[in-house]
């Protein structure tokens, strides 16, 4: 057996979590909305931490439709970026230390985004998961679903089309 010994689990986790953190922390608007990401292997779940500034209808009260749309769009872009950066993160071409220094990879740009509002967003945390339907060299299509208490009762869903960043993926390399 010539197979190389697998890396220690801590090394793998540290590399992936640090890269994800650098990617998410680098975007001010993601911090503004209070969005975090939970990672299981390469699968990401967006978490919208509820706070009162997200309210769009104070009488119901309900989460603002714009916040819901933004949460779905952020989850789509991070999931899409994560899937195309994954090989470079794993091979070490991109590392978290570079990203934390502000050498962020180019992110996909939104071309169009269509949101369906299925239920009012309740004043509590929300979750979202995106699926890359097609990842081309120039364009990508992403579907995304958001829910609150119950995974099967979506309160919003969306589909987005994105322009993929063109090489070089990183502006400056060591």
């Amino acid at each position: 057996m010539n197979r190389p010994r697998p890396e220690p689990m801590q090394v793998v986790k540290q590399r992936r979590d640090a890269a994800l953190r650098a990617l998410v922390d680098g975007v001010p608007y993601i911090q503004f909305l209070g969005i975090e990401f939970d990672r299981r292997g390469d699968e990401l779940t967006g978490l919208l931490n509820f706070n009162d500034t997200q309210i769009g209808n104070p009488f119901l009260p309900a989460i603002h439709g714009g916040v819901t749309a933004a949460f779905l769009e952020v989850t789509s872009i991070i999931t899409l970026s994560w899937s195309y950066l994954w090989p470079d993160i794993e091979s070490g071409v991109i590392n978290a230390a570079q990203m934390a220094r502000g050498e962020l990879p180019n992110l996909p740009k939104t071309i169009g985004f269509t949101v369906d509002y299925l239920r009012p967003g309740l004043p509590r945390d929300a979750y979202a998961r995106a699926t890359v339907s097609r990842a081309g060299r120039r364009y990508a299509t992403v579907r995304v679903e958001a829910w609150q208490d119950n995974r099967d009762r979506l309160f919003a869903q969306a589909v987005g089309h994105f322009r993929m960043p063109q090489a070089p993926r990183i502006a400056t390399r060591d």
């Binding site: 680098g26 975007v27 001010p28 608007y29 911090q31 503004f32 909305l33 009162d52 500034t53 997200q54 309210i55 769009g56 209808n57 104070p58 009488f59 309900a62 603002h64 439709g65 714009g66 916040v67 749309a69 933004a70 949460f71 769009e73 952020v74 502000g102 962020l104 180019n106 992110l107 740009k109 939104t110 071309i111 169009g112 985004f113 269509t114 949101v115 369906d116 509002y117 009012p120 502006a171």
Partner: protein, 140 residues
């Protein structure tokens, strides 16, 4: 008519998220609304260029479309978004205020249809355009 615009204005100005984005309602009457969003570094989506995140543009668009529905003469009260599609034509120029104009161009007993445009200082070339449908609610 004047009262409907006044009620809609009071509603928009009471929205916590509209305040978080420092949105300013500059015009509202007969199914058309104009809302401004000043540039803010907290809303940056691309830290390399300082361009505002598309999500923040979605929020002004959605608020502006809702305001256009509420001030339409045939609207009974509040509204909620059914669907909203946004096309991004170009990046908004960093440092400039984004101005959105929404028009409720058709209304039935149950649904209002709206389109909106967002521009920055270059008013000839829109940053984004939106189309959406909205519910009509008796209450707010």
């Amino acid at each position: 008519m004047l009262d409907k615009a006044k009620v809609a204005r009071q509603f928009i100005e009471a929205i916590p998220h509209a305040n978080a984005l420092a949105l300013k309602l500059t015009d509202i009457s007969n199914g058309t609304a104009v809302i401004e969003m000043p540039y803010d570094t907290r809303l940056i989506g691309d830290p390399r260029t300082g361009v505002i995140h598309g999500g923040a543009v979605s929020s002004v668009m959605d608020t502006c479309c809702g305001a256009a529905v509420m001030c339409h003469p045939a609207a009974p009260g509040g509204t909620a978004t059914i669907d909203l599609r946004i096309d991004y034509m170009r990046a908004a120029t960093p440092g400039q205020t984004i101005v959105t104009t929404a028009t409720c161009y058709h209304i039935t007993r149950n649904v209002a249809f709206v389109r909106a445009t967002a521009v920055d200082d270059d008013t000839e070339n829109p940053v984004a355009m939106a189309t959406g449908s909205f519910t009509l609610e008796k209450q707010f």
